[in-house]
């Protein structure tokens, strides 16, 4: 109907060569072979359309899934590890300073290891992020400022070893550079990559693909059923075997696509809910813990003049705290429930509370003027607080690592779930087209 009306408009606009085409088609359709030819064309066109649409939807999902499993997740993990390495480096440097003139070798090793992994992560990120955009700008900022930071830390050490107070000024400048420039850049980078992963998830599970496949699948099956009905009535044969076979093949293709999409969607959703969600939540907790630790050290370095650091400590604990609606802890427990790591989370909360008790003790000692006692409690060789903090850090880090493993497994499954569609759907559609043509040929042959 639509075709003929547009054909009429074409006629009206004056295309004399096509004049009579519509009439010829109508006349042709009046005869049985003509109608069969028309039906065959329609069936083939609809089948091709189904194949094209399904293939496009599958390709979209395949790309999005591959992006999630490969590039995006790697970027996110690198960005997150970079943030942790940098935070840990600064926390270690500041805390080491507190221990006095001769730094403990273990702390120095931890600082150097942090710096080394930060540089390595930075190299990967430099290669992976695009040549422009927020993430590139952030990577550039870190790449430019990190050597400056490391230089300031070494100047602080060299002066401190000679007992010169200017060492503390270098340390302060280094930590300021880290906190005001480098860490914000790495946080921006992390946010960009996390949002990108989120948008890849959305593309990977988009509902339109489902609807499109269901719609075109139903349409092609209806057309084939109609053709069978027509053929049965016009030719007095109940079944046309090739046409029935074509229907079965297409039904199978539709079901396979839907099942594969469903499975892939399930896997991707698992990748997020049991993989990247825990990665994000636990690493945020870890970074906040490191920040709190550094705040306390900076407050002790400032010897009573560090009110702003204690205020930051309070803000960080509030951002973590589960007793408030906006805290990270409720989200952590939701995520931990999914992954069955609730007992571990309870242990971390207990550790955090023990840590906060130690912190209160340290602030109390400092307020009462017992500096050496405060410092011994905070960083001394038998410091409970150091043990608690490192237990938190290791524990949260282990959660992040195992969530990354879960993520990778689920994302790989998601890729595998729809891997076959790429080749399978075109092949099935080709088979269906061949069957349709064969089926109609048999009937048309009877009219020759």
């Amino acid at each position: 109907m639509l075709v003929s009306s547009s054909a009429n408009t074409a006629l009206a606009s004056g295309l004399p060569d096509l004049r009579g085409f519509g009439a010829r088609v109508r006349a042709d359709a009046a005869t049985t072979p003509g109608a069969l030819r028309l039906l065959a064309t329609l069936a083939v066109v609809v089948t091709i359309a189904f194949g094209a649409v399904t293939h496009a939807a599958a390709t979209d999902r395949r790309h999005a899934t591959a992006a999630v499993a490969g590039h995006t997740e790697r970027l996110l993990v690198e960005a997150d590890s970079l943030d942790s390495s940098l935070s840990d480096a600064d926390t270690t440097a500041v805390t080491t300073f507190l221990t006095g003139g001769i730094e403990p070798a273990a702390r120095r090793r931890r600082y150097v290891a942090d710096l080394r992994s930060a540089s390595r992560q930075l190299t990967t990120l430099t290669q992976e992020v695009g040549s422009s955009g927020t993430d590139r700008a952030a990577v550039d900022t870190i790449a430019v400022q990190l050597p400056v930071y490391a230089g300031l830390i070494e100047a602080a050490r060299a002066n401190n070893r000679q007992g010169f107070p200017v060492g503390a000024a270098y340390l302060r400048q280094a930590s300021d550079l880290m906190r005001s420039t480098i860490l914000p850049a790495s946080a921006r980078l992390y946010a960009v990559e996390a949002r990108r992963l989120d948008s890849d998830y959305r593309t990977g599970v988009g509902t339109p693909a489902f609807a499109v496949v269901v719609l075109t699948g139903t349409l092609v099956l209806l057309v084939l059923a109609g053709a069978q009905y027509f053929v049965a009535r016009r030719t007095n044969r109940v079944f046309n075997v090739p046409l029935v076979a074509a229907s079965v093949v297409l039904l199978a293709a539709t079901c396979w696509t839907l099942v594969a999409f469903g499975l892939q969607q399930g896997s991707l959703s698992r990748a997020q809910r049991r993989g990247s969600d825990p990665v994000e939540a636990f690493s945020a907790a870890r970074i906040l813990m490191l920040r709190a630790e550094r705040d306390e050290s900076l407050a002790l370095v400032a010897r009573g003049g560090g009110d702003q650091y204690l205020a930051d400590f309070g803000a960080v604990v509030q951002a973590l705290d589960g007793s408030r609606q906006r805290g990270l802890l409720p989200e952590l427990s939701r995520v931990a429930t999914r992954t069955g790591s609730l007992p571990s989370l309870r242990r971390y909360i207990a550790t955090l509370n023990a840590y906060l008790a130690q912190h209160a003790k340290i602030v109390g000692s400092e307020r009462d003027g017992h500096f050496s006692q405060a410092i011994a409690t905070a960083v001394g060789p038998h410091s409970t607080e150091t043990r608690l903090a490192s237990r938190m850090n290791t524990g949260l880090g282990a959660q992040v690592t195992s969530a990354q493993r879960r993520f990778r497994a689920a994302a790989d499954t998601a890729s595998a779930d729809i891997a076959g569609l790429w080749v399978g759907i075109p092949l099935l559609v080709l088979a269906a087209i061949t069957l349709v043509i064969v089926g109609f040929r048999q009937r048309l042959g009877e009219y020759r």
């Binding site: 006095g100 003139g101 001769i102 002066n159 401190n160 007992g163 010169f164 107070p165 200017v166 503390a168 000024a169 270098y170 302060r172 400048q173 946080a187 946010a191 996390a194 989120d198 998830y201 959305r202 599970v205 509902t207 269901v214 039904l251 539709t254 079901c255 839907l258 099942v259 469903g262 969607q265 399930g266 991707l268 959703s269 997020q272 969600d277 994000e280 939540a281 945020a284 907790a285 906040l288 400032a302 010897r303 009573g304 003049g305 009110d307 702003q308 205020a311 930051d312 309070g314 960080v316 951002a319 973590l320 990270l328 989200e331 939701r334 995520v335 003027g369 500096f371 050496s372 410092i375």
Partner: protein
């Protein structure tokens, strides 16, 4: 056959709907990003009112309250005096700097503060509590000095505070315990001889310090040729700025510059003193009896030679030991 196919299709559709509904959510992402965005709360002190100072202090800013006579022993402090409040508390709380080499600095090897000013504080603690070590030191920044005294967070501040007429509006001062003066520190390679050679150059000063005020006044007097002040939050940051080549010189009290020169052999003090910076201990205006007590302790130290001994101990290497600064007292008791 068809029933099974329909079942598969139905299951697929159900799975699709189920997966489609609960599949992705950025809830965790938003929660963690928001937590990571936690801002540092700003800590501010109220600005101090700018009142004109009294006629007596305009004549002589260093004139303080007359000392308590005679100085009572720790066991015989007057009942309602502030000194007895401190004794009752068990420790003296003092705001100091921890980065001024020779005057007041942290020894990283012992973890203890030491220096000329720190010794004065220990002697004061001995006079009040009978125990020179019963002191709680609070390291403060230059800008925190007066707010800390006014808010009662410290009993006194001993932190290279210059006594000026204006500052008497904010706090009370003891008699002078050290006579400093501003000078200029430059790299040994520099040809600068005094402030005049620094026109158009950046000169580091501490925010809230007297050197900044002096440079601003200097700039008003010489609008065409004057140094450009480069203020930093803490004193030692100036040495960092000089070592990094961000400034051509540091303007500060010689007492502080001696300490800088001791940390960096490639620097030198040049030019004459261009100001007088009499240092006094800052005490809350609400405790005049404590000012008298502190003045009495200082008077005793001037008289019995401990002032000279402490000076020689810390500054003997960089400057010849002078006579203790003369105490000036306000006319009436």
């Amino acid at each position: 056959m068809t029933g099974r196919l329909a079942l598969v299709l139905a299951v697929a559709a159900l799975a699709a709907v189920a997966a489609g509904c609960g599949s992705t959510s950025d809830r965790t992402l938003r929660a963690s990003l928001q937590a990571l965005r936690t801002q540092t709360p700003t800590v501010t002190s109220a600005p101090s009112p700018n009142l004109p100072c009294s006629a007596a202090h305009r004549r002589d800013p260093t004139a303080s309250l007359r000392p308590l006579e005679p100085l009572p022993p720790p066991s015989g402090l007057p009942q309602d005096s502030y000194a007895s409040t401190i004794r009752h508390r068990g420790r003296l709380i003092v705001g100091v700097d921890q980065n001024t080499l020779l005057f007041s600095y942290l020894n990283p090897f012992t973890g203890r503060l030491q220096g000329f000013e720190i010794d004065l504080v220990h002697r004061l603690a001995g006079a009040i509590l009978g125990n020179p070590d019963a002191v709680e030191f609070k390291a403060i920044t230059t800008a925190q000095r007066f707010p800390f005294v006014q808010e009662g967070r410290v009993d006194l501040v001993v932190d290279a505070v210059t006594i000026t007429c204006d500052r008497w509006q904010e706090v009370s001062f003891s008699t002078v315990y050290y006579d400093a003066g501003q000078r200029v520190l430059v790299p040994t390679s520099s040809h600068v001889r005094d402030l005049r050679d620094l026109a158009g150059e950046k000169v580091c000063v501490t925010a809230g310090g007297t050197a900044l005020t002096y440079l601003q006044t200097y700039a008003r007097k010489h609008p065409a040729h004057h140094p450009l002040p480069y203020p930093v939050a803490q004193r030692t940051d100036c040495l960092v700025a000089l070592q990094q080549g961000n400034v051509a010189a540091i303007a500060s009290d010689d007492a502080i510059l001696y300490g800088f020169a001791a940390q960096d052999p490639y620097t030198k003090l040049v030019g004459p003193r261009f100001t007088d910076e009499p240092y006094g201990m800052a005490i809350a205006k609400s405790h005049p009896d404590f000012v008298r007590f502190v003045n009495a302790v200082l008077a005793q130290m001037r008289a019995d030679g401990t002032w000279r001994a402490d000076y020689r101990k810390w500054l003997g290497r960089v400057a010849p030991t002078p006579a203790p600064p003369t105490a000036h007292y306000l006319g009436s008791r």
